[in-house]
């Protein structure tokens, strides 16, 4: 019974963490350039978590490798956000907005995969789904905005 309680404990606690700050950040973004910034910062905080987990002796090598692969896959999709944001800010043209939007579209799933890998390395399950849900919902909200 004690063993059962201990095995359930991490998942119960992780499900209670909440993602209020992450959700608030996505909800605060009012324009494509702000949305790109929130995504970039979310990605950055995930890379920091992954690096922290790598430095912990208890993190399995397979989990570290999975996080590294996910980060390398996301990197070329996140990198264009800033130059495209700069172009959008400079010109505010429909074309530059479209290009920034396309870059955001391309980065969403790669960041979601990084979320999953980091959460798995942390030993959590439920909150990874919550994080993913936040990203996708925020993305859909952003796309519906005029």
């Amino acid at each position: 019974m004690k063993r059962l309680k201990l095995s359930i404990l991490p998942f119960l606690l992780l499900s209670l963490i909440g993602c209020a700050g992450t959700k608030a950040a996505y909800q605060q973004a009012q324009s494509p350039d702000e949305y790109a910034y929130v995504m970039a910062e979310h990605y950055s905080s995930l890379v920091r978590q992954a690096a922290d987990l790598k430095e912990r002796p208890s993190t399995p090598a397979s989990a570290i490798a999975a996080m590294q692969r996910a980060e390398l896959a996301a990197r070329p999709l996140v990198a264009p956000l800033r130059p495209l944001r700069d172009a959008y800010i400079a010109g505010r043209s429909a074309q530059s907005e479209l290009e920034l939007q396309r870059a955001i579209d391309a980065a969403v799933l790669a960041i979601a995969d990084l979320v999953r890998q980091v959460q798995m390395a942390r030993g959590g399950g439920t909150s990874s789904l919550l994080d993913l849900q936040i990203i996708v919902e925020a993305h859909l909200i952003e796309r519906r905005a005029p």
């Binding site: 605060q28 910062e41 979310h42 890379v47 920091r48 922290d52 030993g123």
Partner: protein, 86 residues
Amino acid sequence: MNPLLLALISLRAAGLAAALAGQTRSSDALYATADALEAGRATDVHMAEIAEKLKTRSITDADWDDYERRLAADQTRLHGDSTVAG
């Protein structure tokens, strides 16, 4: 006190108690849970700061410069020097 901080302190205290009682596996599980909670908390705190920034002002080039600097440092920590150029 923040409930999450209280949970972290409680978990680590319980982990220490389990270790002192010779229950190594229980202790490891409790410490690992505390670590996982803390890692998730750090991201959420950071994103809450981003939300607050967006509420009060526009995002500037300096904000992006700061993001790029932090990201490069953490990418280096994650992969080692060999995979991060520039």
